[in-house]
Symmetry: C2
Subunit: 232 residues, 2 copies
């Protein structure tokens, strides 16, 4: 189990702080040579460190040391930009697409509307310190938000809801599942298909108990730490 030894060796260097967040590792062929092994075995070690959340990979760009994860409280509705800044990180968001679509089966079930009802669909890509970390899809009931696309929908829907429509989140249902990235989602995150991911699904209600919208979030799994407190 040579790959475990290699893994430990790299791990030690990370823990010792010799390699810090965002640092790029040497080329695979060079690492393989310096550990006297083949690329296949070396990649096994790297994949393990990726699974553990110590390293991440950018497609065809190489291996990097993972920065500290963002602490994320799904019960708390601070928006992404605020949350990131509060933790000393630099957030950025890109709008991938915003359109009105007939609700897919999944979206209809989450929003509790009939399939094919027209809903807003917003896709965004969010960055932490210029690293893409999450792809977010929102399905939104248009009934509560006429002309939503006339406002800022890129940075924080939470803020737009509040400032433009007087709608405030008051209840949220969430699910968290471990999975992997595929196709487009992987590509936006500069990842290859199969990269480990955290999937977070939320359904949000306003102060009157109305179902407002839902999020489907695919996070690079090393970039997020779910953290919350519950009083029973």
């Amino acid at each position: 189990m040579q790959y475990l030894k290699i893994m430990e060796a790299i791990n030690e260097q990370i823990d010792a702080g010799l390699l810090s967040g965002g640092h790029k590792l040497p080329a695979e062929r060079k690492l393989a040579e310096s550990f006297s092994t083949t690329r296949v075995t070396l990649r096994e070690s790297l994949a393990l460190l990726e699974a553990e959340g110590k390293l991440y990979r950018e497609d065809r760009r190489g291996w990097f040391v993972s920065p500290d994860p963002l602490r994320y409280d799904p019960t708390y509705t601070t928006d992404f930009p605020a949350m990131a800044k509060a933790q000393g990180r630099t957030p950025r968001s890109e709008l991938l697409s915003a359109k009105r679509v007939p609700a897919s089966r999944r979206a209809a079930s989450l929003l509790n509307v009939k399939p094919l009802t027209e809903v807003y669909r917003i896709d965004r890509l969010r960055f932490l310190d210029e690293r893409p970390v999450v792809v977010v899809t929102n399905f939104i009931s248009p009934r509560h938000f006429p002309d939503l696309f006339k406002h800022n929908i890129t940075d924080s829907l939470t803020s737009t809801y509040r400032e433009q429509y007087g709608v405030i989140y008051s209840k949220t249902q969430f699910r968290v599942r471990s999975t992997s990235l595929m196709a487009d989602t992987a590509h936006h995150l500069r990842a290859t298909s199969g990269t480990p991911a955290m999937f977070v699904e939320r359904i949000n209600y306003d102060q009157h108990g109305n179902l407002i919208d839902c999020d489907l979030e695919y996070w690079r799994h090393d970039a997020i730490l779910i953290e919350s407190t519950a009083t029973i």
Copy 2:
């Protein structure tokens, strides 16, 4: 990207219900042959399905189709046996060890005591339908639970706390992180080092606000779906 095609082919069979939870796949060499490829490539596909949570592996035993995950509400303090039964599953717990130990740095920090303070440490392995799914370590402040080991500490600490000591959970802090299994933990779960895992850490308080204990849980990542509702 042959491995994606193989992945889809297997995926379809699972979704079509041809292969259901717990079903064992044919030998790797046979699968490789039937897809006209080598074991290395075939294993790449299987690993992807593992990352996605569709398949799991038991060390040297082969590949299996993942059963539905257990829905787990970290804010709700139903004990494991009750939660499993409520979802139509058969739970079982094994005591791996129970001892008094000087608190490790991590344990001391979680329990908010001085390092090396003596605490209880209980390690357990829990099964769903005879599949090992989670290794749980509890660190417990002995102050609140004299002679704890005289009672049932295998099945449900929650019940023992309540019935023997009148202690009821009233607040819980939790963290969820995606990681991988290593060494002993992997072995107990019949997994190899590096298998994807969900790590759940909880700190629990009683009805008077006293810090009671903490859990460190390593779940097979396909066996758990975190699910909760929060009112803000």
